[in-house]
Symmetry: C2
Subunit: 389 residues, 2 copies
Amino acid sequence: MTDRVITGTDLSRLRELNSLTVVRALRDQPPATVTELAKLTGLSRPAVDVIAQGLVTGGWATIVEPGASSVVGRPARRYRFRATAGYVIGVDVGGHKILALLADLDGNVEHTARRAVAPDADPAERLAALDQVLASCLRASGKTAEDIWAVTVGVTGPVDASGKTTLFTPLPGWQTVDVAAHLSDRFTCPVVVENDCKLAALAERWQGTARDANDIVFLLAGMRTGAGLIIDGILRRGYGGAAGEIGALKAVRWLAAPSHLEHCPGVPATVNPDDAAAWVFNAARDGNRDARTAVLRYVKDLAVGTAALVLALDPQMVVFGGGFSRSADLVLDPLRRELQKLCLRVPDVRASTLGADSVALGALRLALNEVDQRLFTVGLSAPVAPRRD
Amino acid sequence: MTDRVITGTDLSRLRELNSLTVVRALRDQPPATVTELAKLTGLSRPAVDVIAQGLVTGGWATIVEPGASSVVGRPARRYRFRATAGYVIGVDVGGHKILALLADLDGNVEHTARRAVAPDADPAERLAALDQVLASCLRASGKTAEDIWAVTVGVTGPVDASGKTTLFTPLPGWQTVDVAAHLSDRFTCPVVVENDCKLAALAERWQGTARDANDIVFLLAGMRTGAGLIIDGILRRGYGGAAGEIGALKAVRWLAAPSHLEHCPGVPATVNPDDAAAWVFNAARDGNRDARTAVLRYVKDLAVGTAALVLALDPQMVVFGGGFSRSADLVLDPLRRELQKLCLRVPDVRASTLGADSVALGALRLALNEVDQRLFTVGLSAPVAPRRD
C-alpha cells in the first residue's frame, strides 16, 4: 500500500527479535539444523546461520556435531539450547516436609533434597529446615547460589502481592512470614512465593495427566482440600492471589469432607490422626463396610465444591491430586457419578500422576516461567543469573 | 549481534503490519495528527504520512481539516478512523422482549428497535419477532444487510460450540433453535450467538461501572440468577460455553433465592408473578416489614452463590446487574455484609449502571470484537463487510 522508510533502530530491533525467535525455537525443540530452524522461525537460512553462530558465541546454544552417518553427503550440524547456562530451584514448604528440586533450564532435575519437619514447628524452625534443604541441594549438585536464575517457594494458603499468606495459612505462626525476604541474603536472583495448590496445578499441566488440557480444575485433596485453576492455558491467581479458595465456604462442604475419614468407626486408636485417612482408604479397599461408607460420604461432600467449580468455570478436565490421589481408585468413579447428578456438563475426571512431589515440581515450572518471561520480554543479553529488580 | 538479510516478503509484511498499527492507533484515539500517530506507533513521521494517506484512499480513515486557528503557522490536519465504513447489530432475545441496537464501528448506536414478546411464545413466534425487529432496525436507519459487518444475538442459557442452547434454556422450545442458521439468509456477515449473562458482563466492562476492572464477577439478577465472568480482562466462556452456570447447584442457593420475593406475604393477588419482585422491593423501600424480611432472605441466599464465585476466582469486583439492579439500594449493603462473613477477601461490590439494555449492548461489543479480530489478525483489506468462512 505504501513505501516504508527502514531506519537503523528498526534493523537493530529486528535483529534482536530474530535472535530471540531462534532462541525460543531452540528452547522448545530437540537439537535442530539451520534448515529446520529456518522452517520453524520463518527466517531465511543465511540469517539463521549467522544468528545460530552468534548464539553459540554468546553462550545460549551449543553445537551438536553430527556422528558417523551412512547418508550421502556431509550431515548437518545441529544446534541445541544450552540448558546448563543456568539453574532454577523449586521448593515445597509443607506441613510435614520440605522438598527442594534443582533443575537446569530445560527442567531436568539434577538434585532432590527432602527433610521432615514437625507439623507444629514454629516459623524459625521451619525456615531453618528450609535453609538446610537449600544448602544441601546446592552442595550436593556442586552449584553455588550464583548459578541459580530463579527460586520459587510453595506454601499453604493464598499468597498475596507481598508474597505472604496474610489472609490464611494452616502453618503455625506463618501468616506474616516473608520467605522471599528471608532468602534474599542467600540468593540474588528473583525469589517467588506461591500457593501450593496453584503450583501443583501447573505441574500437572507440565508433566502430569493434564498435559493436553487448557482449562483445568486441579484438586489438592488431603486432610484439607484446595484448588488450582488453569483457564485458557494460564494459571489464575485472582486479583489478590486468593483464587481457588472455594473450600472456605461451608455450603460447598469441603471443610466437612475429610472428617468422614477421620472419624470413621473402626480406626484403631494406635493410628495417629494424620494417618487415619490412609487407614480408611486401605480398609475400604479390603472391603470394610464402615470404611467404604466413609469414603463415599467423603466423595459426596468433595463433589459439592467440585461441582461449584465445574459449574462456575466449565473446565475441560478435573484432576484429583494431592495426598489422597494415591486412593484415586476408590474416589474417581463415585466422584464422576456425583458430578453427573450436580453438573450441566461433566468434564473429564482424572487422577494426578505426580503424587507428593507435585508442589515442588510446579515451583520448578514457575521458576522456569520467570526465567523465560525475562528472557523473552526484557531482550537477549548474556546468559547470566538475573538480579532482582 | 548478527547481520540480517531483508527480503521482499519481509518488507511487504512489515508494510502491512505498519498499516494495521496505524489503523489500530486511529481506532482507539480521537482524531490525531501525523506527529501524534508517529509518537503513538513508534513509526517515523514520513512513514506515517504515507500510510495515513493510503488509509484515506482505502476507505479506513477520513481527514479532519483544521478549523481557523490563532496558532502561528498552518495547523496540521488530523486523521480519524472512518467508523461509518461499516455497522454492527447486537440483539437481546429475552423472555419478555427482543431488543436490537445498530451501531457504527465506534459503537455509536444509530438505532434501537424493541418489541415485546410473550414469555410462553414458541420458537417460531420468537424468531418472527426477531426478524421484525431486525428489519425495522435496518429500515429505520437506512441501512441494508450488506452494510452490517457482524451480528451478535444474546439468548438465555449456556451457548455451545454450535451456537445452540442444548444444555439448558428457559425459553420454551428453544433448546435446539439455531438462530445463526435462521439469520444466515438475511446476513452474509458472521452471526454469533452468546449467553445473556456473558454479554451483560462485557457491556458492564465496556460502558458500565466495571470499566476500570479486569477481574469481574457479573451477576444478572432477576427471577433467575446468572453470572458472567471476566478474568484478566477477557470474557471466559469455559470449555463447552457453560462457564458461570453455578446457579444450577442447589447448595449455593441461587435457585431458591428469588422465591423469597415471589412468595412474600402481602403481595396482592392482582400482581402477576413476573411483577411480584418489583412489588416487594417497593414495599420494602416503604418500610413494609414482611417485604424487608423477604429482601434480606433473598440477599442471604444470593450471597452464598456469590461467595462461591468470589472464593473461587478472587475477583476485583462484583457487579450486581440485571432487572433487580433497579433495587440495588436495598441489596448492596446487606450483600456486602454477607460476603464479609463468607469470604476471605471481599471485592468491590457495585450496582450495574446499564439496566435493561445491558445484554444488547454487550452483544454490540462482541460484534465489534469480531470485527476487530478479523481486522487485526486476517490483515488489512478493503473496508467491506466480511463474509462468513
